[in-house]
Symmetry: C2
Subunit: 361 residues, 2 copies
Amino acid sequence: MNTIANDQLTVTNYQLPVTVLLLGFGAVHRHLVHILLSKADVLARDWGFILRVVGVADSGGALYHPAGFDLAGLLTHKETGYSVATFADGRRLPDALTLVQEADYDLVFAAMPLNLRDGEPGLSCVRAALRRGKAVVLADKGPLVHDYAGLQALARTYGGRLAFSATVCGGLPVLNLGRRDLVGATIHRFEGILNSTTNYILSRMRQGMAFAEALAEAQRRGIAEADPRLDLEGWDAAAKLVIIANAVLNVPARLADVTVEGITGLENASLADPRGVYRLVARAVRQSDGRYRLTVGPERLAPDHFLAGVDDWQMGVVFVTDIYEEIYLKIDEKGPLATAAAMMRDAVHSLVAHPPSSPVP
Amino acid sequence: MNTIANDQLTVTNYQLPVTVLLLGFGAVHRHLVHILLSKADVLARDWGFILRVVGVADSGGALYHPAGFDLAGLLTHKETGYSVATFADGRRLPDALTLVQEADYDLVFAAMPLNLRDGEPGLSCVRAALRRGKAVVLADKGPLVHDYAGLQALARTYGGRLAFSATVCGGLPVLNLGRRDLVGATIHRFEGILNSTTNYILSRMRQGMAFAEALAEAQRRGIAEADPRLDLEGWDAAAKLVIIANAVLNVPARLADVTVEGITGLENASLADPRGVYRLVARAVRQSDGRYRLTVGPERLAPDHFLAGVDDWQMGVVFVTDIYEEIYLKIDEKGPLATAAAMMRDAVHSLVAHPPSSPVP
């Protein structure tokens, strides 16, 4: 397997089996399963990991099968409309939390529906896995928004791993860049278009499309949250801003610290304004006391603003810093594929940093 | 000190002195010295490192002073027009290579003038430091272009470190993102504006400014290479493309593998063409056999192309991939500050991965 060492790859020749759980089986995890199937040879050749899915859970229950599931069959089963808990052999368990507590595994992928009220059931699952010293890879924002510091502390205490680059802008490594590549910087300002659903809706409404039609298209692509109000009222973007604040800006922000306004008050007529482009902008602005003011809301941006050019299915961010000057990123992400890829990236990084010690079966 | 562990910071309470050499003392290293002065408290607080410059070299010779130099005084001395070799106390040495071979130190920063003929004197210095198991942080492209694989092998063999994120697009972590964040991806196409001098010249000429005036402005800012033909004829961009090919695309490319055309044949009249924007574009396109076609040359880009919006002092790149879809990055970099910051970033990453074992003095 390879190990990352100061950006150098050190190739060795053994392959390590890694057992994983999939919590949630929506659009992101179905794409992740496709990636695990199509990239199995790349993961083995370049990184030395052979991932075996031994547990799955969705709202219908959980299933544990230590020999590993037939992933293609599992996909078909789910897409036919059944819960993963009723697929094939294995031990039926009541729910994801029981699976996390009772199964043998190395790593958990968690991509359950966004719950900003209390982060459950993801939060309890993540805590349970970290208490067992496991690696956890999150697409879920809820657990981080509710207990960022607590989860980090659990990972440290029990030697687990917590990775979550997929929670912000999907495949675009906003968090990785902010945490690893801006060493020593003071970030004066962060601004971003963090929610794809609202950005697509605003882009289309500007061209005259009806709100409901644009929303339906986002839902069809598997990008919209199950409850679209979380997107439309700005809460999904606010959750991502909270994660950036904690992980990159090193401030212990909570959702209540963000001033949030959604896009539901905007109308086609105002969006067609030729003097600017309306976007739902998430913003963290450093104050003179070193604290950050956090806001999410619709803004009319000048046409030459970088975020004005973040159109349709794109998401993008700007870091305004002292020593790295201004850095701009964006991604064109037309579905959940890149978010699933980011989870695979996080898994590889976690496994390289702390290879599991499972014996070869 | 902190250690990076799967993007988690583990804070401990000791501080580690780190002795460093500075090879070259042009614009980039003068900015690096400013950063070492202004960010010393941040490096100590967040990372636990106390950097002490114990050796310097420029074209006038080298100076070794184990107690550490007065950096502010050294800057003044150099800016008054003297060689760093004549500054204050210390042991005079004939050149950078002797310093690298004879001094006691933990890490070398190398930012000497670009030499694409044979990579010297940087190449010999880097090899010598790596053979001693030291950490090397490069802004120099020459050594990498001439012996990428050999330097990597030396680092592995002797347990040294080799970091070079500052060699491509300065502060923009193009190499870090390409090497760390696109795990498992097939990169179908890479394209970038990698040379700031030519991009500024083309941007200004489009608005009617004379070629010579724009070039003089780039030289005044310390961004142009000492020999401007390396910028204007496309060789600086080609060197960066070779580094990307080796480090990100995993192909053992050399400068001779790049088809290169510069901007010297372009005239103001054609640059003002309203149908598109002329940029000097570096490109790597994956062929059906898995190899990459590498080119650098002026192109008229459609006005809505991402790179058409990379203006003036900006540099930017596009990664077109399978599972991460399309990722766009750019930086607004008006001088050498962000390149110097990238060297500091590389130093911290190298030191975190392999802390030096120097005793506290």
